[in-house]
Symmetry: C2
Subunit: 292 residues, 2 copies
């Protein structure tokens, strides 16, 4: 048994999936407690029965837990830390699943009690759905989980968090906080910013054309809108808390899109072909890696 | 039997799928002839055996055909029209499958012999693969096919092309050329421009980060690269031949992306939430339409 008392703050898609996975395996935690901000969510989690106990407040929930996992939008970390910090058990592990790591370290570290081991984590898994009903035990299977341990991290605590994700079926990797934030800005946050944007752009078209846009949405546009159907608070917080890296990637992307637009305007066939070929090269790289 | 002699110029993904569909049904054409620019492709089409005859040149191929379908990159229309126009049979139908319609009308109409019925068409179907091996008979099932008939079009000829696509399993719609080009610029061409661009942007990142980008590509980025693995000549020609509409949609999109980036920079949470919500609204519209 990895933990005695596992506490999940925010049993939504990710937190609810961790709880279901832990229940299903039976070798993660002897007792699983969760808490949620709204009474409605707490009631629903009780109904769904994927945890042993639902606490009314985060202060109560973390009492005596040897592992606490923050599964809330990254914008809520500072407030929740202020509430739970005095109640975290000495020697316990605090980890999280947030999509930004620089902001998490910024918000958690100053409030971290001495003797509590903080291991920032980011399971790269998810669906377009959210809330306690959306979770399932196999969500993390075959997906990467990135840990960004800080200097001086207790090796035993790190090993326990690594084991948690390995048992969930994930490939666990470690990297530094800054590299993590750049990589996810490129592979996840910028694509979502683009997806949200293009939906709005379509929505702004004249009524007649918009109807046609919806009707004829080709597969290209469907892909964009699929990733755009995500949790509002989560994505708002991600954008606001990975600002530097996201704006850098957006600036690079915009320059590149404008360059391609310019080539279209001036009929520069070779430039356009080169951009298309580069896209295919990256694509092949992805396929080879997925098969390897 | 819809046609006596059906001629497919360019038996790649789309042309090869039309031929396979016609063969499989048996009620489209008594004889199917195809031609391709390269000797290698012509040999491969002979091997694959999905047409009755492979002609060496387009001039030969169109001889005596009562229906000719152009299935080549839209940039090649003018050159091919110069070659086939003198050989098109009086009373025959000329149609196409190009993704741009304004440029097609511009390139085909001045060379069209009197008595040949020209019906511009665009089956909204495809995969990320190309070439004669990529086609399959069911490619058009359940997909829209847009026809953009010109003023004074012969109703009987239009009806025959409509029947061709209905027998292929498509939902046939008609609209004017300008509306078509705007709609596809938004739902297909702009998403592809973005996809090609973001792949290049990732490729330009420093070597270390790029490796990580490939390794951790989340589903968002995978969607982008899937649509980026498309035929180079086809997409180059689409961009160059739907320039006006594509640049308009790119300009609108870029303004919107910059506005969202600005909101991220200045921490405007409400603006960001609004954009995310609008994306979800459009998404719901798509789902409802697909289910209806």
């Amino acid at each position: 048994m990895l933990f005695e008392r596992l506490c999940i703050i925010g049993p939504g898609l990710i937190g609810g999936s961790i709880a279901r996975m832990a229940k299903a395996r039976g070798d993660i935690a002897r007792h699983i407690v969760a808490t949620a901000q709204s009474e409605a969510t707490r009631a629903r989690v009780r109904e769904l029965g994927f945890v042993d106990e639902v606490a009314e407040t985060p202060e109560e929930a973390v009492q005596g837990a040897d592992c606490v996992i923050l599964c809330i939008p990254v914008g809520a970390y500072a407030e929740v830390m202020r509430r739970i910090a005095p109640h975290l058990a000495p020697g316990s592990i605090l980890t999280d699943v947030g999509s930004t790591k620089g902001s998490v370290v910024r918000d958690v570290l100053p409030l971290l009690p001495k003797g509590v081991h903080f291991i920032p984590g980011h399971p790269m898994a998810g669906t377009e759905f959210s809330g306690p009903d959306a979770g399932f035990a196999t969500l993390f299977e075959g997906r990467y989980c990135i840990l960004t341990p800080l200097e001086g991290t207790d090796p035993a605590a790190l090993e326990k968090v690594r084991t948690l994700w390995e048992r969930a079926g994930s490939m666990v990797e470690t990297m530094d906080v800054a590299t993590h934030d750049k990589v996810v800005a490129m592979v996840s946050h910028l694509p979502h910013l683009i997806a949200f944007t293009i939906c709005g752009t379509a929505d702004d078209l004249a009524e007649e054309t918009r109807e046609a846009v919806l009707k004829y949405a080709a597969s290209g546009f469907r892909d964009f809108t699929r990733i755009a159907a995500s949790d509002v608070a989560m994505w708002r917080d991600i954008f606001l808390n990975n600002r530097e890296a996201l704006l850098e990637m957006l600036a690079r992307f915009t320059e590149d899109a404008q360059a391609l637009g310019r080539a279209v305007r001036w009929g520069q066939a070779e430039f356009i072909e080169d951009r298309i070929r580069r896209g295919r090269r990256i694509r092949r790289g992805l396929i080879e890696r997925n098969q390897a």
